[in-house]
């Protein structure tokens, strides 16, 4: 059965059209892979909301307007509330068969945007919310956000003699939105692109609110080479520090449950933001990973 007939979205069946082009993101930007592919999966009948952050800063500076489809910048806290408004307005105007998608960074989702996101999920507004997670406030120059992982150095959690960078862990946004009662949520990575495409395609069909949390490395902020973005996003999953999972019908499911993880150390040492960590720190991170996976494996499907 051909890919098109089975309804699959992949490199062959995806539209040739480009909806995010000519933008000024850093070379090798993970976030721009996310935006580009989401818009290609969702197609022309889509309203896109992008809050203050990297993707709006690089895509929308008059007269260089890089969104080749309906798109609007929202206030930083207001991504999800603007999505709700657009969905309500479009419905009231009688529009049919369209998508409303918000693409926000980790800061705009887990910190300043969490109130509005919670409200949208609570109302079951028919919107898709995607968090592209580069693990810090990158647009403003690499400051700590609620999703900055343990041990990472940022400009507001510098690593020095006294403090070793970020001392607390990532907020668990995936489980937070699940607890909020979301209809469909998923975690993804630009290192597993087909899985990401599938999840966007699935979210597009949800009659309710959906949330996708996609790991999108930032070469500038992570201190990695511009060509390694996709690779390192894959390695984050392979070493267990990130995971591919879904939440639907009230159940958590692991999409990928590696028998063995690749070494956490290899993943961390490739990135300048972790280079100050010593063996004890890396062991601590490994132990946290193991505890988390133990919990997931004990109660989640897959």
């Amino acid at each position: 059965m051909s890919d098109k007939r089975s309804g699959m979205i992949n490199a062959r069946t995806i539209t040739d059209k480009e909806f995010f082009y000519g933008h000024k993101a850093c070379a090798g930007c993970g976030g721009s892979i996310v935006v580009r592919l989401i818009l290609k999966v969702l197609g022309e009948r889509t309203f896109t909301v992008v809050p203050a952050g990297c993707m709006s800063a690089v895509g929308f500076i008059y007269p260089q307007l890089c969104f080749f489809n309906n798109a609007i910048i929202s206030t930083f806290p207001g991504t999800a509330s603007m999505l709700s408004g657009i969905a309500a307005g479009a419905k009231a105007l009688g529009l049919k068969d369209f998508h409303v998608v918000g693409i926000a960074g980790d800061g705009g989702t887990a910190d300043i945007g969490i109130q509005a996101l919670s409200g949208a999920i609570d109302r079951r507004d028919k919107v898709i919310y995607v968090c592209y997670d580069n693990e810090a406030y990158m647009n403003t120059g690499i400051q700590k956000s609620g999703l900055t992982p343990y041990g990472a150095r940022t400009t507001t959690t510098p690593a020095g003699k006294n403090i070793k960078g970020t001392v607390i862990g990532k907020k668990n946004m995936f489980e937070i939105v699940a607890a909020n009662g979301i209809d469909y949520a998923a975690t993804a990575s630009v290192g597993y692109i087909q899985d990401f495409l599938n999840k966007v395609h699935k979210a597009a069909k949800v009659e309710g609110t959906s949330y996708i949390h996609v790991l999108a490395p930032c070469p500038t902020g992570w201190g990695t080479a511009t060509d390694s973005t996709v690779e390192i996003a894959k390695e984050a999953v392979d070493c267990g520090l990130w995971y591919l999972a879904e939440y639907e019908n009230g159940e958590f499911k692991l999409n990928k449950n590696p028998k063995e993880f690749t070494p956490v150390e290899d993943y961390l040492r490739k990135q300048f933001r972790f280079r100050h960590l010593d063996d004890d720190d890396i062991q601590k991170i490994t132990d946290i990973r193991d505890a988390h996976w133990k919990k997931m494996r004990s109660s989640w499907k897959g």
Partner: protein
Amino acid sequence: MNRPVLKKHIKPKHIREYPVGPCYEAGHLVTENATWRTQKPIIHIEKCTTCYYCYLCCPEGVIFKEDKKVKIDYAFCKGCGICAKVCPKKVIQMIREGETYG
């Protein structure tokens, strides 16, 4: 198939030529990104198996399908090198900008 193209930006001379508020036609490019790069990708097309993985992974969308193969829009390629890195058959080579291949 819409390949985004550059438009010439004519600076308005009168206020009435300005867009009304920040609202404008979607997709309006007035500058290229080619000058950003220090290296550029060359596809050894004869070895390409058209898996289209590079096409998916490109952050810029400058790799496009044509005549059952892939091509690159160099006006907007930033030379990040992701395509060369991810190609499973290693048919993409990054060369220094300014060098010619072959």
